[in-house]
């Protein structure tokens, strides 16, 4: 079972890579997503659907979903299907995963902090913008592969990604921990 799962995943990655050339450049796609976010929080962004799809395959891609696994603070896993273009914050909310989103994806808080559990997947993401980094500065339990859930947008390469919710509540304010001043 392990093997079949693995090969399926491989196929997705290859397909994803091929698709990557079809879509617009990552930079522009990203900034349009970001702008949309600040104007219209929590709306789906199916930017890949419009990106140069004359073929039948394009529509399939638009309706495609990737598999994302959230790992909560007790270590329990929940696997969900996320449509391409949707942010992990929205996906979590649609699937009743307890990920806060105080500013609703407008990059003004750090409550949707997630940790990408695999460095390989982390490297497939666009680098965080200054604005995202500003918020990550304040995230509790920051790691090298921390991101904001609202800025991680589902794309084919991310199929199979595991995201951990920080175990903050368990450790907070125990044994003389002092919150950092801001």
């Amino acid at each position: 079972m392990f093997i079949t799962k693995f090969s399926r995943l491989g196929a997705h990655v290859i397909k994803g890579l091929r698709r990557g050339q079809l879509t617009s450049t990552p930079g522009t796609a990203y900034s349009s997503v970001f702008n949309n976010h600040s104007l219209q929080p929590l709306k789906h962004q199916f930017f890949s659907a419009t990106a140069g799809d004359k073929s039948q395959e394009g529509e399939d891609e638009a309706n495609k979903k990737i598999s994302v696994t959230f790992v909560d603070k007790d270590g329990e896993e929940k696997q969900i299907k996320v449509p391409i273009g949707m942010s992990m914050l929205e996906a979590a909310h649609e699937n009743d995963i307890e990920l806060e989103g105080a500013c609703e994806g407008s990059l003004a808080c750090s409550t949707c902090h997630v940790i990408v559990m695999d460095m390989e997947y982390y490297n497939k993401l666009e680098d965080p913008t200054d604005e995202e980094n500003d918020m990550l500065d304040l995230a509790f339990g920051l790691t090298d592969t921390s991101r904001l859930g609202c800025q991680v947008i589902a794309k084919p390469e991310l199929d199979g990604i595991h995201l951990a919710l920080p175990a903050a509540t368990r450790n907070f304010a125990v044994d003389g921990y002092k919150p950092k001043p801001h």
């Binding site: 105080a102 500013c103 509790f140 920051l142 304010a173 919150p179 950092k180 001043p181 801001h182």
Partner: protein, 554 residues
């Protein structure tokens, strides 16, 4: 709490008529994205187990001990509404304000709407502190008002800022750029203000090995330092004429405020002492110590942004040294030193629990910790059991608020209240509230209401040819009207009924005691004026409560 405990009913009490606390009064008007969290807050009281009561203060409306009697659990989350002081000469001079007051002023907090900071007789302001509040304040002073006009800044503040003559702002910090207490977002924002001249002394950016070590360990300090160093070298070396200026002044601590020569009692400047950093024993933190060299910063406005302070309320243990409520994971401790002495049913959360630092997310975790403590205590049976010892909760609170409301009806502003006009019933407003509170919970009152309910049932039986028996009193409101007009909710059940289920009645009962013998009674024609049942309004198995004073409509 609503999520964690399916049976919990939660009432949120705020001293202001409006909800959202610090998001409303603290978050800068040009940070609308931060305020989006109010969407989430608004969803909370949509839950039918939750209500919001505005305009209710702990102390004057309801005391903490009363709340604790009425509710199984009281969580204090009223934050930090006062300021730390410097304790140096001249702190009270006109033209000095705490940054909190200034923030409340531009955010339209009712307590500070009349602050009227003088922005016209000077072109220079000194802000003491370099945290995010200091940067917010600097930004509001320096940002083009055209841009502020599109925000939800209070109109009185916008008007004053449009006429402001402030061109030059000093941000003064005791330590260096490595230790600056702000975050990158706010710093980036202030550095990016249109047509603003930024001045940072390059010499201040030199780092010691200890500084390097500090930067290595803190990502946020690293990023703030980088922004400051970039800003120090970019831009022009001199401001163009009329250009607004922001000066970062590092390694200076305020020594005294200077009184003006020509406007006595008014601030004319701040004397600051040069500092150097010294490693403090333990902690690994560097602290600023004075060097004995002084200089004066001339200014006509000082805003102190050196931290908030919480205020205790009556009956609440308080650690004056730390400015917080002593607690163990949110459980209030009876005294600071003893971790085993707990105040039953009393919890604390947010800045009042940890001190005034941290962002929304920090308070989220903090709240979760307190809720976990409450849940643990419920499971362990530490709290007065909800089944064995029911508490009045919302009903009790509403009754009490009505009491106050009534007192205010008798007399809103006068200090003395004259009752009955016989010369013997005079009380102060406070005494009257006290009196009513006692009366509301007295056995005498309950006996009377039982009697009136019983009368109402009999009246109803006569009218409808039924056979109900009074079971128990539920609640009542009362209006004074040449006697008292009660609306009583009570339970009654059918005599000899097999299932014995009681149903809820509401009755309007007029108790026309002879208080004013000389006046004709135009309200009732009954001869016997004690306990006349005016009407039994309706019978229902469920009643909806409509709060009379405030709260959401059901």
């Amino acid at each position: 709490m609503l999520k964690a405990h399916q049976g919990a009913e939660v009432d949120i009490i705020d001293r202001l008529p409006t909800p959202f606390g610090l998001v409303r009064s603290g978050v800068a008007p040009d940070h609308p994205e931060t305020k989006i969290v109010t969407n989430q807050f608004s969803r909370v009281p949509q839950n039918e187990r939750c209500s919001f009561f505005g305009n209710v203060s702990i102390g004057s409306s309801v005391s903490l001990s009363e709340l604790r009697e009425m509710y199984h659990v009281v969580v204090l989350a009223y934050g930090a509404e006062s300021d730390r002081i410097l304790g140096i000469p001249g702190e009270d001079l006109a033209g000095t304000h705490s940054a909190r007051e200034f923030v409340w002023w531009y955010n339209g907090h009712p307590d500070c709407r009349n602050l009227a900071p003088d922005l016209k007789s000077t072109d220079t302001a000194v802000i003491l502190g370099q945290g995010n509040v200091a940067l917010d304040v600097a930004r509001i002073l320096l940002r083009p008002t055209m841009e502020l006009a599109t925000t939800d800044i209070s109109s009185h503040a916008l008007g004053a800022l449009e006429e402001s003559r402030i061109r030059k702002v000093y941000l003064v910090g005791r330590r260096g750029p490595v230790q600056a207490a702000c975050t990158a977002k706010e710093l980036r924002e202030v550095l990016g203000i249109k047509d603003l001249y930024i001045h940072i002394q390059e010499a201040d950016l030199l780092k010691t090995p200890t500084d390097e070590e500090e930067l290595k360990n803190s990502r946020i300090q690293r990023r703030v330092y980088e922004l400051l160093s970039k800003a120090a070298v970019s831009g022009h070396s001199h401001p163009s004429s009329g250009q607004r200026e922001l000066h970062f002044v590092f390694f200076r601590k305020p020594d005294r405020f200077i009184d003006s020569d020509d406007r006595s009692g008014h601030i004319a400047g701040v004397r600051v002492e040069k500092t150097m950093l010294k490693e403090s024993a333990g902690a690994g933190k560097q602290i600023a110590v004075g060097t004995g060299q002084f200089e004066d910063l001339e200014c006509g406005l000082v805003l102190k942004s050196i931290g908030y302070k919480s205020i205790p309320v009556d009956g609440l243990p308080f650690d004056h040294h730390k400015g917080i409520v002593p607690n163990a994971r949110g459980r209030v401790l009876s005294n600071t030193s003893d971790l085993t002495q707990l105040e039953e049913g009393l919890y604390v959360c947010g800045w009042l629990k940890r001190g005034p630092t941290g962002i929304i997310a920090t308070n989220l975790y903090c709240a979760e910790e307190t809720i976990a403590s409450i849940n643990e205590d419920i499971e362990k049976g530490v709290l007065a059991s909800t089944s064995n010892m029911p508490k009045p909760g919302r009903e009790g609170l509403l009754q009490l608020l009505e009491t106050i409301h009534r007192t205010e009806n008798y007399c809103s502003k006068d200090e003395r209240i004259v009752l009955f006009g016989d010369g013997h019933h005079e009380m102060t407003r406070k005494e009257h509230i006290q009196y009513l509170k006692q009366w509301m919970t007295s056995e005498e009152r309950l006996k009377n209401l039982n009697k009136l309910s019983d009368l109402a049932v009999k009246h109803y039986n006569e009218k409808s040819n039924s056979k109900y028996e009074f079971v128990k009193f539920v609640k009542a409101t009362v209006l004074p009207h040449r006697g008292f007009l009660y609306h009583i909710t009570f339970e009654a059940k059918e005599k000899d009924a097999v299932d014995g289920q009681s149903i809820t009645f509401q009755a309007k009962v007029y108790d026309g005691r002879k208080l004013w013998d000389t006046e004709p009674d135009r309200f009732l024609d009954s001869d016997d004026r004690s306990g006349h049942v005016a009407d039994v309004l309706f019978e229902k198995t469920m009643l909806k409560v409509t709060p009379t004073l405030c709260g959401k409509a059901n």
